[in-house]
Symmetry: D2
Subunit: 473 residues, 4 copies
């Protein structure tokens, strides 16, 4: 309702009411204006009315929603199902233009605006979490693994001779597969044990760089967020090596954005050496459905190159979800979530410590992993270890992992000794659990209760074997 | 409400009412059961209640929605925003498992089921549109360009020496860029003029194959759906060549699924020679938002390889949209849309013919293009051609293209003479318009009306130059 | 997005795109402005984006959605459930103020505006349907029966001595009960048979008026829309009598608004005599859920009195539903529905005639009932008549009625001979079916098919008795 | 997905996944089954998936959603607008049947079930809040004022001679108007001052009963929840009088359901004497939009009579909102809200006390009002009192009232001295604020802050008059 409409509205209700209401409308308009002006995440989260109003305005700026549009192309953003149109707020055109993800789409000014501003908000989020150098962000509508592929394809195109990726081992399949999918050759650097913790073998990295030769290396890929007892990679030292040998440094920061500890490490790595790109998952950090990743770089040109690598348009859903979520949380909301994550991490660790003590186990000391915790399972016979995992799964505990350290796995022709433990050095079986963003105390409580039950049962069985299985819960 | 609930319901309302209602509930359950049993698109579209009931049931089968779930992993499908949760029917886990898009996800049985069945429905859709040989489909949550990249990366991994892609030229940027992004070397085969139509230069293709050598070629990429006057590629002959020389044949069938004419050509190409994969856009054929593609293959193993190439999980949104749309349309609904497309194509052609005649132009004779129509613009001075395009754009006509045939463009170091016209042979300027699925008669009527206005204005200007621009509509 | 926001938007996408999109935003704003300016139903229906944008703006004008509101009253429009808030577009305050339904609510300027404009749109709808005299409308959030009560309570308060209501009999329970609920005494005037049709006994009405005395009569209540073979009451003559004897005339026009035939009769009655109020159902005429009624009057003061009779606030849901529906249909949409109603009436009549002939029955000739049709059931033994009704019900035919003419019914101490047939004069059993707004051809086709089946079965049984019941469909 | 569907699902994903998911489906089905079996509010609130699943199942039991329905009546629950259908979960038929609100509707088994169970849940809510005697509840789709009318119309029909209502004065317009609308004669009993509090003048009530004669009195209407300094009426003594003189006792318990203190008083009044009906608002107690009321009675027959008084069908929206809210909150959720209300009441009182002291005012001592608080305004010149009210309103404080005690008001011919103060006895001006259910601490904080500002400003003005008004906030 514009000024004219409001004027006419005074024919219906007293003008004092209209004036008061008009002021509120103006307040909302100002909130929206500030977004475009300052390109920042709002301090306080927006209410749903403001969010949905803006979404409808943006989607009405896309040609498929023009009242008088005539669509005579092959792709006109039409909908066959009303349910689908509704759930997308009538956005149909996706993002990007043939050659470039970030190029404004003439048929979709609204979607293009939403994409641009969301990238700005992500940049602001980086700042909030501790990146104070100038950084740019690109939300890509593929999950972390595929985003890593895009980065490597781009880096390779800039280093035509290169075909190797030096990779500090982390036993998460899609991370490793991203190298293979990009058609490159992985050089696997096992982590090494340092007290309870598994840390980066930077010496071996340097050795391999020298062996292979800088110009043959597409990048070094390090990982920050991971399951304990693996620590965040020593990205400072890697950065220094990368700078020294002139090799791109790609950081897999999948769920590290939620941690100021990790983000500060990235900043510090950049200060000391070379960080080309760091990649984070939208779902793991922003609590949206799987499907997007944030590619961040201190080098604007490189980021543009990555955007240009993506051929054609793409889904606007990860963008829409992230946009809504950032507006709805506001800075305060996101910081609250991060604070809660820290508190839950402490709580999880403490509860696990109690349980560990009562079963003769220990909680692994992993000061450089701010999210995940590991607990030894030395007292469980190795035959029972897999059973333990599936017992927890059947009792609706999701996300925990039991690592025997005895498993071997071959992926794309590469052999991984002690699969799951990021190293062939580890010899104690253990389980991990993570206190990731959005976790509630009840998650911990239920987990601990069920873990206790299962451990008790397995300890009993050791004396007198028999298991009644699922049916007791 | 199960049998027990219905029994208790009889304490509230007469049992005849409950029995009648229970029968209706059973009818809906049967409709759902038939889906899982027969794996076919329903004859008649489902109503929203049935669709949403099934979606809620599926999403309640994902662990993030288990009432008693304890999530202690790094990715637990949590939502920060209620708006986001709602628009995804509480699906949060995406699809796929680290190594493989089609592998069931233990945390998300519901999403996994939805993905499996949707791939079956797409297979059924292929049959409906004319593919009678046994085919398998894989919905990937990336648009056509990126899907082509995935295919080429997979094919290359199976042919380690190969690095060339023989490509029958089509002037659509993302198609060409997909080759570059995959890190491969394009061999561009210009189309050749045959009367009004531009057709495949199969002789040159064969010549190049011999020159380069089969084992060095990743695939031949052909295109079916395209802007007139380019015709659907001669995929039968290409297939024969591919079989003869043992080279994979990849068909870019972006918006060809809506056309029985084109789909029958693909079947025929497979009968005569070699078709490895054909790729279609979900948004262009199913009227869902941009973001998905259907990869189809007669070779199940190859398709599995492609699914395994995708590293990590991915967005379930394109899947969800396609699933809803196919259920909502039913076979009858989709066939109706295809019949309407044919009728609109005829209508568009006829209306353009009328207008062409009145301005001394002709409609190009392109019998092998069932979707797009071209009209010559010989009487417009070349200076005015771009103006014509932007005048139409400003008058809210979207999707039409004006081709001068004089433009040159360099993409990734490759030069394209006569950019936009798929060939350096074409010398008459023209415009194209497409009658794609979902187009309405009003789209044509508005387009024709505005085109007439704009042409009239340009013809007047030729005599006495002056343009008042946008403000007359 | 206001002008300033759009200006900033040009930092993100090319200004031509922003300008084009801004123009579209302006178009929508103008559509909304025209609503407030002209107070008319739009010619063309609005799309969902425009409707939802306006709803969000209106609800943001209610104090419960003020970002900085402090609610310290007993009723602050709060929501405990997000699902409830969403489905009401965050409207919580209902309509009305303690003493008066139409008085603007200071806490809810947006709701108040929506209510005012909806009453204007309804006025416009009256005009569209044939009321050319100046009329006012009041949407009340109670269904027809309760709306009749409100009217009678108001009329009685203006005629303190009066306690009788002269009522042309129609066998619909809630209509009769409204008199009882209002605490008044009904004077029942049976309809009389005139050929196939049942028409108003105006002589008896006049006789009763004289007997009872004008000043003792609250009103005469007539009915327009009804089940055949009852005709629309002779409201012209009743109006003349009411004028002559100075008695209010209340017309129960429950589903007559959809019929130009009936609406013109009301206009004509007003021209010739006295029409105080006419009441129509929102659900029966506007295809919204049950719950609202439109009270119309040529006398603005009377309508205000009725609005003031309603004590306290009330639900805004019937209002919201009607508002959305009128905007979404537009005048063209509503007229299309009315035209379809006429066509369906003809189709239903013709199909029933065919079936009637084949079973030796007739379709009753009821030229003064434009919605409902009756078919005799003379050949069915009276024992089977109720069975026929329930057989149709069990076969999912809803809305048809079988009238035996033999039933007696006592309501609130009043006896109705031949209940269901509006008269004690009718002696042939029959069934009725109505072609009401929104009916589809498939409704008729399924009905006719099932009726045929059931009649065939009953005719067979007459020769050799046995019924297999429900299970054959 | 029934058993068969789940069996087929095992063809798609591993049977362990299906089994686990099936168990979760079964859990939800059991939650739903328990509802129908036990007819109680669930201990823990349901999640949205379970709520929406049940709603879709219920609405699919209504004939308008039968896949094979043929509607040939005048009211078939059709929708013209998809937006409207969606927001009602496709419920279209409302509740009730011509003669009776609670009679199951043959066309709408689902709606009928929802209505029945909601009335059971409300009964359970009464128990939760302290009513231990057997009570029945009837949700009516009209707000409190109109619900009082319905009750009085019913009571009058049972006491044909009666036309007086003895009414303990409360200055809330719709309450008083309900007597007038019902066509009855109010006998106004002013409250009397007892210390700071205004209490029931039970002596005068008894005197009036004797004067008028029991048989001429429809009922005594008392009020529990009200603005301070009026106290909850002395309903115990009124009950004793009603029993003694055989007069119905109708309690206006508009927002008393949220208070265990008040509900226990009602129980106690019933124990000691006569309570026929007590009425509460759904919006004020359940935080749903305005539009419904809960009529409660210890006398099942009386309640049925009331249900039968309502002529025709009615909106199911207040029902749907209450149903969703009760399921979503669960008992724990509702008790939490009530506990918070108590805490907020204390907080509000304490904050007001602080402010009162600093301005030389007092907080009125009203121990028998558990929701509302009054603060004297003795130091403000009477000319400024109204200004104070509007200053707060313009600063977005809603719900507070400023009472001058000097105002006179005439409603329907009855004069109220000291309008707003429930009595002509009160002589100190004051303002009231209420801590009603759902109030947040920020509501209090903002209110106090603004009140302070406004009072300061007014106090300053007393010395040097001038007001800059709205623009300072």
């Amino acid at each position: 309702m514009n000024q004219e409409s409001l004027k006419f509205a005074e024919n219906f209700v007293p003008s004092t009411y209209v004036k008061q209401a008009a002021e509120v409308l103006r307040t909302r308009e100002n909130i929206i204006r500030q977004l475009w002006q300052h390109k920042k995440i709002p301090e306080d989260g927006w209410d749903d009315i403001t969010i949905e109003t803006l979404l409808l305005q943006l989607s009405s700026m896309d040609s498929n929603n023009f009242p008088s549009n005539s669509g005579v192309g092959e792709r006109e953003g039409r909908f066959a199902s009303e349910l689908v149109a509704k759930r997308h707020y009538h956005f149909g055109h996706g993002i990007g233009r043939s050659g470039d993800l970030t190029e404004p789409q003439p048929k979709a000014a609204g979607s293009s605006l939403m994409y641009s501003i969301t990238n700005c908000l992500l940049k602001d989020l980086m700042k909030l979490m501790g990146i104070y150098s100038s950084v740019e962000c690109l939300l890509v509508p593929v999950a972390t693994g595929m985003a890593l592929v895009l980065n490597m394809l781009t880096l390779r195109s800039l280093r035509p001779k290169a075909e190797y990726v030096i990779w500090s081992r982390i036993d998460q399949k899609s991370c490793f597969k991203s190298i293979i999918t990009a058609g490159l050759i992985p050089v696997i650097i096992d982590t090494i044990k340092c007290n309870d913790q598994l840390v980066t073998n930077t010496c071996l990295i340097e050795k391999k760089i020298k062996e292979i030769g800088s110009e043959n290396i597409v990048c070094v890929m390090s990982t920050t967020s991971c399951f304990a007892p693996r620590a965040c990679d020593n990205i400072e030292t890697i950065s220094i090596l990368c700078k020294q040998y002139n090799i791109p440094h790609l950081i897999n920061n999948a769920y590290g954005l939620q941690s100021k500890y990790i983000m500060k490490k990235i900043q510090s790595a950049f200060n000391k050496g070379r960080v080309d790109v760091f990649v984070q998952s939208t779902d793991k950090n922003l609590m949206v459905p799987v499907g997007g990743a944030i590619i961040s770089s201190f080098d604007k040109n490189l980021l543009q190159n990555i955007a240009k690598t993506y051929p054609g348009r793409a889904s606007s859903t990860p963008l829409l979800d992230s946009f809504i979520t950032l507006l709805s949380l506001g800075k305060k909301g996101y910081e609250k979530l991060c604070d809660d994550q820290l508190a839950m991490y402490d709580y999880l660790k403490q509860e696990l410590t109690t349980i560990a003590e009562s079963f003769g186990e220990i909680v692994l000391h992993t000061p450089e992993n701010p999210i995940s915790v590991g607990m030894s399972l030395c007292k469980i016979p190795s035959d029972d270890l897999t059973k333990l995992g599936s017992m927890l799964f059947l009792r609706n505990v999701s996300g925990t992992r039991v690592i025997t350290t005895l498993e071997n796995k071959t992926i794309a022709g590469y052999n991984f000794e002690g699969w799951g433990s990021h190293s062939k050095d580890l010899s104690i079986p253990y389980l991990t659990a993570a206190a990731s963003i959005g976790m509630k105390q009840t998650d911990v409580d239920i987990f601990i209760k069920k873990l206790k039950k299962v451990l008790t049962q397995l300890h009993c069985n050791m004396k007198e074997p028999s298991d009644t299985g699922v049916n007791e819960h």
